[in-house]
Symmetry: C2
Subunit: 463 residues, 2 copies
């Protein structure tokens, strides 16, 4: 099959990569107020590019937070409509001193492109843009199917902007399915579709003791210590085997099917290698009666991300801080409901409150757990497109991560999502030295071109 | 009794206060490397002032850290020699946003002087300087007794500079007793001598899990979490009643005498008021079978000061950090030995190490607990001098804080210390809005003048 769009994409690989680097140079860190202007700049750059390649109705949609970028092309009558989703915001780069090259100076090393956002999600989102450009160029300004593009700038901060827009304007995003490239391949060269995601609740616990910071010599032994209190509380949330102690926490869980569990067993997964090469710890942890993949994909977890407050500088300061904070999240699996789980968690945490301490338990954001059906034409076309590019059968996996938008699309637009991701397990998402394997950037673009061509050749759905 | 030095001190009160303000404007924060130059500047300013008032042999003595300031006047043959000790470094001012006025812009409000270091210890140390100035002026360049002054700039950082100097050059500091003003009065208007101090060990526990920061979605449930591990460990160091769980921890403790306990019971102490006005928490904590004063003065404590690492910014970052740190100190009481206690603590913490985690337990610094005899002429003269200024009998108390130099003087110079302090319980040491009651600055100077005059009138010891 001669596909002119593939030809165009191959001839323009190095330009595509340079354009991605320009995008990665914009520090669009959505969690940090000081980068507000950078986040908007990234949105503007993308809007201009969507306009340039020939999409229509390009616009920034303002939200209470960072803007959405929208564009469409809806002239393929009788063809399905794809809603391409991506996010242009990135995680904070800290700790900065652990980066081998600066996070916002994209650097090529060993076939990889290193930068914050390289794979999560600027690089993967940009594959959509470049696949669409290749198709528009090869088809004289037309696409083989209808496309809407929606990009958000608050994914990493759990912003409500896109969820609200999806809820309030479902007609503006009407489509047959969504396409999301924000997941990873199970192994290098193994084409992978993600069909399940953990949900999450991200919370803060604030502990307050004395009215002001106190000297630990003068008051130690009689004044409450909020850090010690948080330690007492947090230590009671999980047992030594990683089982979460919140009453009722596990009640709603649906286990994966026997068939799915069997398929996971046949994946090329080596626990030793995972421990030593990916995690790099002296042991793996968690519920020992489940396999590692079950623990990551089909079991909930509770993590402490940081405990701000008190004295964190060099040397010694003998303070009993007036307050301390813990940032705690839980990953949820089907059919756990975020609001219900938060209520159970809050009640349990409050029940553990030590003497002299006041606890404030806050929900920062949440997302539903998801399991997708694999018997729809979009997943089938994606399976075939990736197989054609990689020359191997595509595998179905779940991800332990959370993509709340998938639940929003399901709830408000009543459409399934195809999660076609090209990250690799060692791409250091949310960590120093985030990277994107450059070959996967190109193979991703080719997979997307083949996917769109396939769907355009079929007759399913309607715009 | 007409005392010309008192007259001079009274006439110069406002000048003394303005000079103190100038000293407080220097941010001599010894724990922060960026203030290194400021710490030295404070030392230089003090050396110049000691020279100006008429002391001799003024010099900066270099250490591996911040310099010592030395001066003396040794011409009162047949009179005792006093070693005046103080420190010119201060605690870090954070959290800055809780200060009503900037920490390094001394501000008068309601009869108090607000600034970092106002009472701990620049203000109290400067009382010595101004008492000596008043005496030198009133006695035509002479003092009623021999004096050596030694000031350090590493008290708040637990620096070893002065301890090493005391150990290696005891002859340069030869004296009959030391005088330290770095403690507080038990209540406003109640003259107080401190005759006991808790010791301390300040430690760090570093927990390491994965080789790099990991995404909590991708790895949560199988990767070790160093923050959670620290919580598990720390929660096991004390029980709910505040009793420390380290095996052997309490073995060496000597309880206060029945007489001392009885004297503490007659002090004007109101537990309700202490809780609500000083601590401001919903309850007091600690070992319920001991009184609050016993818990603060005669029982050890263990405190967590901060837990640096991970994500501490605004919003949500879903990271499992590769490492986390806990800053933990213990206050010790007679006869607990810091090195032995640290060994017990380290062994116990290591025994609690969770799966997949590596712990590094480090001693940052330590100080011996102290109990002083009250039947020496120096304590007697101090008792009388303070009684004369305040018009009330002087009480003997202990402090829950630690002044390691008292142990160093005892061990290396074989001299007792007189701890004549003029701070107040609500002076916010080590906390935002540190202050010094200005009337106590003046009464402190007068007490010191009377103390020196009394000792000069007696015939005890020899230079």
């Amino acid at each position: 099959m001669s596909i002119p769009a593939l030809q165009f994409a191959r001839e323009n690989q190095s330009r595509f990569l340079e354009e991605l680097k320009d995008l990665l140079r914009i520090p669009s860190v959505s969690t940090l107020p000081e980068h507000r202007g950078d986040v908007r700049r990234a949105a503007e750059v993308l809007a201009l590019e969507l306009q340039r390649i020939g999409l229509e109705n390009v616009q920034l949609i303002e939200t209470t937070g960072h803007p959405l970028v929208y564009a469409d092309w809806l002239h393929a009558a009788g063809k399905p409509t794809c809603l391409c989703y991506g996010h242009y915001d990135v995680q904070p780069p800290d700790p900065l001193d652990e980066w081998a090259s600066p996070p916002f100076e994209p650097t090529e090393r060993n076939g990889n492109l290193y930068a914050r956002g390289a794979v999560d999600d600027k690089g993967q989102m940009y594959m959509h843009v470049k696949a669409l450009e290749s198709l528009l160029h090869a088809h004289a300004g037309k696409l083989p199917l209808n496309v809407r593009v929606i990009l958000e700038g608050e994914e990493e901060v759990g912003g409500e902007g896109i969820a609200q827009f999806v809820r309030e304007h479902p007609e503006q995003l009407r489509a047959d399915f969504a396409l999301i490239s924000d997941t990873e391949m199970f192994a290098p060269d193994l084409p992978t579709l993600c069909v399940g995601l953990r949900g999450m609740i991200y919370t803060e616990i604030e502990a307050r003791g004395a009215a002001t910071d106190l000297h630990s010599g003068m008051y130690g032994g009689a004044a409450p210590n909020p850090f010690f209190a948080l330690c007492q509380v947090l230590a009671q949330l999980k047992d030594a085997d990683g089982r979460i102690s919140i009453p009722g926490f596990y009640d709603a869980i649906t286990a994966p099917s026997t068939q799915e569990l069997k398929a996971w067993k046949s994946l090329p997964f080596n626990e030793e290698e995972f421990q030593h090469k990916e995690v790099g710890s002296s042991a793996l942890t968690g519920e020992s009666k489940y396999s590692v993949l079950e623990r990551l994909w089909a079991r909930p977890t509770l993590e402490v991300h940081g405990m701000p407050g008190g004295f964190t500088g060099a040397g010694a300061k003998t303070v009993i801080p007036a307050k301390a904070l813990a940032k705690v999240s839980m990953r949820l699996v089907p059919e756990m409901e975020p609001q219900k789980i938060f209520a159970l968690y809050k009640r349990y945490v409050e029940s553990l409150c030590p003497k002299g301490i006041m606890l404030d338990v806050r929900l920062i954001h949440s997302g539903d757990p998801i399991v997708l059906r694999v018997d729809n034409p979009y997943v089938q076309a994606a399976t075939a497109a990736m197989r054609d590019v990689f020359g191997k059968e595509t595998v179905f996996v779940r991800s332990g991560g959370s993509i709340p938008i998938v639940g929003d699309f399901e709830r408000s637009l009543k459409i399934p999502s195809v999660m076609m991701g090209f990250g690799l397990p060692d791409d250091n998402l949310h960590a120093p030295n985030e990277k994107f394997h450059i070959a996967n950037f190109y193979r991703g673009i080719e997979s997307l071109i083949r996917f769109f061509e396939r769907l355009g050749a079929e007759k399913i759905g309607a715009a």
